[in-house]
């Protein structure tokens, strides 16, 4: 397939507001039942893996909001996770382990960073946007590595999971798992509502045809900035959860490789679907577990798989599902 055509517009990922509840209901049901399965099969590590999937799913769903619905390819999303996580870590290092303080702090810090960098990023055209978000993410990473009192390169251990109003409600792995499930559900429902709302419609319209939207009377940039801030806040939320999951924070949480992995999760699941964020994070972590069992250098296999997915399976898992349904229905 060589041959560069200029006449046809670049093949873009389509987006539609889906009302299908079967798939997300199924996914959440599986997550809800996982601890029971873990207990029955005496595989306690499943709870940890499941929680990890859900934590990253929060970030992935938020990222899909940006990438799939607003058309903003943010390659610095991990920065928000990192900021949220470090909010928890730094507060903990100063003796504050209360979740009702740490969670708002995590979200606010991320939203602030999103606002300040968003103002700059959104002044530029699409392609520059990717590089600038990448650069800002890198900036946060380097700042974290240079924070010697908070572990620098090596990171920081957190004394204990956040308390909720003083109570160690999420101390046990099981309790934390269900807490995370609720957080993911809330995030997902919020994003679903957002996408179909007036605000979401303007975003989606802006992604399809920004000039048209402007001549109708919409300052698309302003809406994109708000979307960027919301996604950033949700990223911070994910970071709060991540810090509590591992009871550890490190600069690696905000590396650009992590940002790349988040975008991969969104693509794997299916960009512009929100459900794709749920599926994608699960699929990526499963692939990681499975392939790293085969070889330590599993990315040698995963890299080409990614290329193949882009070339031949652009709709990700959800696209694949739709294709199979059409073929065999």
């Amino acid at each position: 397939m060589s041959g560069i055509t200029f006449a046809a517009p670049k093949a873009k990922h389509a987006v539609a507001v889906r009302r299908d509840i079967v798939l997300p209901a199924l996914i959440f049901a599986i997550f809800a039942l996982l601890p029971a399965v873990a207990a029955l099969t005496a595989r306690q590590y499943l709870i940890d893996v499941g929680a990890r999937m859900m934590v990253f799913a929060v970030a992935a769903v938020a990222l899909d909001l940006l990438v799939g619905y607003a058309g903003l390819i943010s390659f610095g999303h991990a920065a928000f996770i990192g900021l949220g996580a470090y909010a928890v870590g730094i507060l903990s290092a100063h003796g504050i382990g209360e979740g009702l303080i740490a969670l708002p702090a995590a979200i606010l810090v991320s939203m602030l960073f999103a606002w300040l960098t968003g103002i700059v990023c959104l002044r530029t055209r699409g392609a520059y946007f990717i590089m600038i978000t990448l650069a800002f993410g890198q900036m946060v990473y380097f700042i974290a590595t240079s924070l010697a009192p908070y572990g620098g390169d090596n990171g920081l251990t957190i004394a204990a999971r956040s308390t909720i109003a003083g109570w160690p409600l999420i101390k046990s792995d099981r309790a934390f798992y269900y807490f995370t499930l609720l957080c993911l559900l809330a995030t997902y429902l919020f994003c679903r509502a957002l996408v179909g709302s007036r605000f979401g419609r303007v975003l989606r319209g802006g992604k399809e045809n920004a000039v048209r939207m402007a001549t109708i009377g919409f300052n698309v940039r302003r809406f994109q900035l708000v979307a960027y801030i919301i996604a950033g806040g949700l990223g911070g939320f994910s970071g709060f959860l991540l810090a509590n999951l591992t009871e550890f924070v490190a600069p690696a949480y905000m590396s650009w490789q992590q940002s790349g992995e988040l975008i991969v999760m969104v693509i794997l699941g299916g960009v512009g679907t929100l459900d794709g964020g749920l599926l994608g994070s699960a699929a990526y972590l499963i692939a990681e577990e499975w392939l790293s069992g085969i070889t330590e250098n599993w990315k040698v296999i995963f890299g080409p798989i990614l290329v193949l997915v882009v070339l031949f399976a652009r709709g990700g898992l959800i696209g694949l599902g739709a294709f199979l349904r059409r073929r065999f229905a």
């Binding site: 179909g196 007036r198 402007a214």
Partner: protein
Amino acid sequence: MLERVSSDPVLRLEGLRKNFGSLTVTDDVTLDVMPGEMHAIIGPNGAGKTTLINQISGIIRPDGGRIVFAGNDVTTLSPDARALGGLARSFQITSILPGFSVLENVALAVQARDGSSFRFFGRAADEKALNAAAMTALEQAGIAERAHARAGELSHGEKRALELAIALAMKPVLLLLDEPMAGIGREETERQVELLLRLKSQLTMVLVEHDMAAVFALADRISVLIRGRLLITGNPADVRADPQVVAAYLGEQLE
């Protein structure tokens, strides 16, 4: 019904200039558009008509001169601010939202001027008031029966009608039409002309067009643009007879 009592122009261009590098595309253009009139802008290819429309709607910033719309200097105002002020336009190359339904394309135009769009809950596609207003515009444009089709799947002529519906839904003070007859057949063109004739009494319009039959059927006044410069502004009969205009079109049929 717009009364032709007011003597203040709806749109006034004063000494507008635009250069692309060393090429002068808009050369000291001054013209008025009076309330209720259908003002056509014609000129040979490359005269700079679309660039002029783009400056009026705010997509391109002029290098010099002023644009005064409904009494306000909008020269540096963003396109969305101008749109909210009542300036609507259709595009020469159809510019719609192909992934959305026809109805939603128009409903968005209604939404823009119906309160805040920073609402994060409630399904916008189900808002009755927006949809009703959108349907009205679609009926005016003659494609109400395609309301639930995907806009990308419309025929070329239907897309042009959609463009018009979107503009009408904005309840504009001024409607800029950039070659609305481009690429559509004879029958379609006649329908469009009929539609525009009906709208003439309700709207002030600027029409950029190549189809001379349509121009002379519709225009109250015509401005002729040659290589970025305004040659003459006048009523159709005068313009048609003007020797400079005839020469500039080099024998093209002006009947």
